[in-house]
């Protein structure tokens, strides 16, 4: 464990999560959420859980983004609330 790497990953993770919640453009929110998943996978790998990291990288950073994009194609691009 490298605590400096953990610290910065956690910090960027929180920033990404807040950005994904606050941003008005839903396409940007999907992009930031995918980046969040990738950072999460890095953090899992760094914490010594390669199995979870592999799942998170394949599902969270890969397929979830695509499914959200397809769902977004049915919606308006801008958030209403």
């Amino acid at each position: 464990m490298i605590w400096q790497l953990d610290f910065w990953l956690m910090l960027i993770l929180i920033a990404a999560a807040v950005t994904a919640l606050e941003v008005r453009d839903l396409l940007a929110a999907v992009g930031v959420l995918t980046g969040y998943s990738f950072l999460m996978a890095l953090l899992f790998a760094e914490l010594g859980a390669p199995d979870v990291a592999l799942t998170e990288a394949a599902l969270g950073a890969g397929l979830t983004g695509v499914f959200l994009l397809v769902a977004l194609a049915f919606l308006d691009r801008r958030s209403e609330d």
């Binding site: 199995d51 990291a53 592999l54 397929l63 499914f67 994009l69 397809v70 194609a73």
Partner: protein, 169 residues
């Protein structure tokens, strides 16, 4: 009724008239860029080889059937997004559910094989009488990973196809 051939995800990048037979009624069809096609077609085999590695080494290293199956599905979905209707010739719509059905059926048969000989569900050591229990357990876990991989692969592609067409066949 959702029947538009324009690519809504990539929005307005489709140049020229839609090719005949391209209207699959899908929300995302084809991204007409040579670079995207070449890169996608080049990357898909590599993703699939890595997915097969993850599946077949799942019983003694990180990964397994689920993760490898997700990667296989991701490779097919990459083809769906990039080359559009051409991907339906390589991997037809019906193939998703067929592969998922094969995977789940084979997994159930593997699980019940030991029940026939007096074991519990998925108790691989009892699956074939007269064989070494360690060998049976090894190959039992291996084939369980492979069948789970098939199931996840087919099911995720089927979910993508269903979402992409708005649930319309």
């Amino acid at each position: 009724m959702i029947t538009r051939s324009a690519n809504r995800i990539t929005g307005g990048h489709q140049r020229g008239p839609a090719r005949p037979g391209s209207d699959m009624g899908s929300m995302t069809s084809r991204y007409d860029s040579l670079f995207v096609h070449v890169v996608a077609k080049g990357i898909v085999p590599l993703v699939q080889i890595f997915a097969f590695y993850v599946i077949t080494h799942g019983h003694y290293s990180p990964g397994g059937g689920f993760q490898g199956g997700v990667m296989l599905a991701a490779s097919i979905i990459l083809l769906r997004i990039s080359i559009g209707e051409d991907s339906y010739q390589r991997f037809p719509r019906e193939a998703g559910l067929a592969i998922a059905g094969f995977g789940s059926l084979a997994f159930a048969l593997l699980g019940f094989a030991s029940v026939l000989f007096g074991g519990n569900f998925l108790e691989y050591a009892m699956a074939v009488p007269g064989m070494e229990p360690d060998t049976l357990r090894y190959w039992g876990i291996f084939f369980a990973e492979v069948f789970i991989g098939f199931l996840v692969w087919g099911a995720l592609v089927a979910i993508y196809d269903a979402m992409n067409t708005g649930g319309v066949e």
